[in-house]
């Protein structure tokens, strides 16, 4: 037991931070948002070259085969830097494909995509949630009906990241109705430009885009199958857990940076002839901020550790997400409070962290939903 970063993890943290400090300034982040771009292609190319897109993917496909804990550290840093690239959907999808390949539960397409994912040649994303804000399997209604060697998809997905620029999207569909909510799901790879697919991209609070995607009799052939028919939950469950933990890592990374900016500001900004950071009320607020973000970080890392161990991370990931969503929002709010009016101004940088980390906390399941999962896991 040693919950601090080990040497390898520290190396990843320091290396990634140095890279982003040099390459990913707030101005660059701002530029991507203001231009309405979906990604920063140059930054993406660099991340691929450094081997970070495939950090935790199997080495046979060109990945770094690093443990999930190291990947989590990478995501903390990407969140801290507000890296304007679709790292999260890409890596989450690639890991799910790699798992299916490892289990021998997919065709050659998935294996090819994992190789391409490592070098950044093919951008991957995934489509899960539909109408309700929740992430449970019962929310999946998009139907896939067998058609010859493949399937026909009909329905819609509500919030898909980087959809228009992705090469492939892993779509959760219902191949069977009537059984348990977990049963009857199937994961299928769809090309965003396939006939019958239409998408509308919408700006988010974070300044990026989420697409609403409609599937009108879209044909997916047998090679698009990932995992087993009707038993997609087997793959989706660990995929969602990884997605939640990596999302928490980004929130924690960005929130910590927002808090550090507030601590620095409290040392410089004067009121009534004193630095505001010398007032006990501000000091105590800062003490809570660091305590909360540290708590979220530890929960996140513990869940990541469970995943790296190959043990079930359901409870740990739900606890991390429920806590991180709410406590990090509270940290961001207090960081804004310390900045006073300047936190409200677009020209001033603080809002870059605030809007993104807050928006990320609204993705991948609400605190209420995750607490419901916690209560269930506790056999209440």
């Amino acid at each position: 037991m040693d919950v601090l970063l080990n040497e390898d993890e520290e190396m990843i943290r320091d290396g990634v931070r140095r890279f982003f400090d040099a390459e990913c300034s707030p101005d660059r982040v701002r530029g991507i948002e203001d231009g309405g771009a979906r990604t920063d292609p140059e930054l993406w190319r660099q991340l691929a070259e450094l081997g970070w897109l495939g950090l935790a993917l199997p080495s046979v496909y060109g990945g770094g085969e690093a443990p999930f804990t190291q990947l989590t550290v990478l995501f903390e840093e990407a969140g801290r830097a507000l890296a304007p690239v679709p790292l999260h959907p890409h890596v989450v999808t690639a890991l799910a494909l790699a798992e299916a390949v490892g289990r021998g539960e997919c065709g050659p397409l998935a294996a090819t995509l994992v190789s391409e994912a490592c070098v950044g040649d093919s951008l991957l994303t995934w489509a899960w949630s539909e109408r309700l804000p929740g992430m449970g399997p019962e929310t999946i209604e998009l139907s896939a009906t067998a058609d010859g060697n493949g399937w026909r998809l009909n329905g819609h997905k509500g919030m898909v990241e980087a959809f228009e620029i992705a090469g492939h999207c892993l779509v959760a569909a219902r191949t069977q109705t009537g059984g348990s909510a977990n049963g009857g799901l199937t994961l299928l790879l769809v090309a965003p430009n396939a006939p019958g697919v239409s998408a509308v991209a919408r700006r988010t609070l974070a300044g990026d885009f989420q697409s609403e995607v409609h599937f009108d009799n879209v044909y997916v052939d047998g090679d698009g199958l990932v995992g087993r028919v009707d038993e997609g939950w087997d793959l989706a469950r660990p995929m969602l857990q990884r997605a939640m933990v990596l999302n928490c890592a980004m929130i924690v990374g960005a929130t910590r940076r927002a808090a550090e900016r507030a601590f620095d500001y409290a040392k410089e900004r004067h009121a009534f002839g004193h630095p505001i950071g010398s007032f006990q009320a501000i000091q105590h607020t800062c003490a809570d901020m660091i305590t909360w973000v540290d708590g979220a970080e530890l929960l996140t890392r513990e869940a990541a550790w469970h995943i790296a161990q190959g043990s079930d991370a359901g409870l740990a990931a739900a606890a991390a997400k429920a806590f991180t969503n709410e406590r990090c929002q509270a940290v961001l709010r207090e960081a804004n409070q310390i900045h006073g009016g300047y936190a409200q101004v677009r020209e001033y940088d603080q809002q870059l962290w605030y809007r993104r980390a807050a928006a990320w906390s609204m993705r991948l399941g609400t605190s209420m939903e995750h607490r419901r999962a916690v209560a269930q896991a506790l056999e209440l």
């Binding site: 601090l4 006990q280 501000i282 606890a319 607490r371």
Partner: protein
Amino acid sequence: MDFGFSEENEAFRAEIRAFIAENVSPEIVQEMHDGTQGAGIGPLTKDLIHKIGQRGWIGMSWPEEYGGRDADIIDQYIFEEELARARVPLNLGNFIEQAPAIMNAGTEAQKQYFLPRLVRGDVTFALGYTEPSGGTDLASLKTRAVADGDDFVINGQKVFTTRAESSSHIYLMARTDPEAPKHRGISIFLVPMDTPGITVRPLWTLPGGRTNEVFLEDVRVPKESMLGAENEGWNIGASALNLGRAGARRYCIYVSPFEDLLKYLQTDDLGRDIARDPVVRDKVAELYCEAQVARLFTMRSLSMVRRGQNPPYEISSEKIWGPEFQVRTTEAASQILGPYHQLWEGEAAPNGGSFPRQYVNAMVSTFGHGSTQVMRTAIARRGLGLPRE
């Protein structure tokens, strides 16, 4: 990051559990409970401390020459966690806080005398820090120790001196130089409680336990009873206090009301019915997440201490989060159990009435041993480098 315990650690945990199953009877638990109500340490309890001491578990991470076994502090954490889970009050002998101070600052004679006796449970300390003038601003204490030949003569008053009625010694902070700045004129004395001039008067607390006022009137002690150098007492005491704030023992205190509540909702007939309410489930799940944070803060402090780091603010975070979580839990429990939560005794009282006791007891953690306000200031100044006004 490694959140797991090694096979050796787990084997040790199994050993402790077996020991508890064999040696901690309901009679002993009852006797220990009575001990906190003023009865003092009974024979069964003393025998238990002896047995624990014989196995080298009391000062586990101490050097072997002092009766410890040089064990990994993780084993000590496991030991504390398991005993706390079995509701064995671990502060019986104060071996965790005072022994390290004696090891660091004591003379050879003091080490030879106190350490083996602490390990065997023959010496127990009452903590004579707080005075009527205030516990948070401890350095303002007024009890005076005046040199007189080979002795010191001590006059003053302590308050909230828990277990003074049953301890063999008092670990006493007194002012030896009234002219020096307040932190620089304090010394520590290790004084037998049967020294003439010491009077103990009980103060009964809300949950039903006993603490005391201790009056010191011309208490004459030899100079050898001073721990460390004269006027250096503040530093010795402060380091003991900081370490005393971490560890499984305290985290277990913070989360035990939650664990009791959870168990009640999981296993009791009424509890299970109450736990069907989704609003209750949401609250309990929230508390669960927060309890994990309390546990993880302790694991973090331990990881840092084990790496030889002196945590600049992390122990203070632990000392804010845990106690405030404890208070939140008891307040939540009161609204989850409603009218049942007020029952202090009787058949209908959940857990025999332990919940309202925990309710009134919880906030001792938020001001004792470094108040949450002072801890917040310490984080801000020491951890984050925020300026003084």
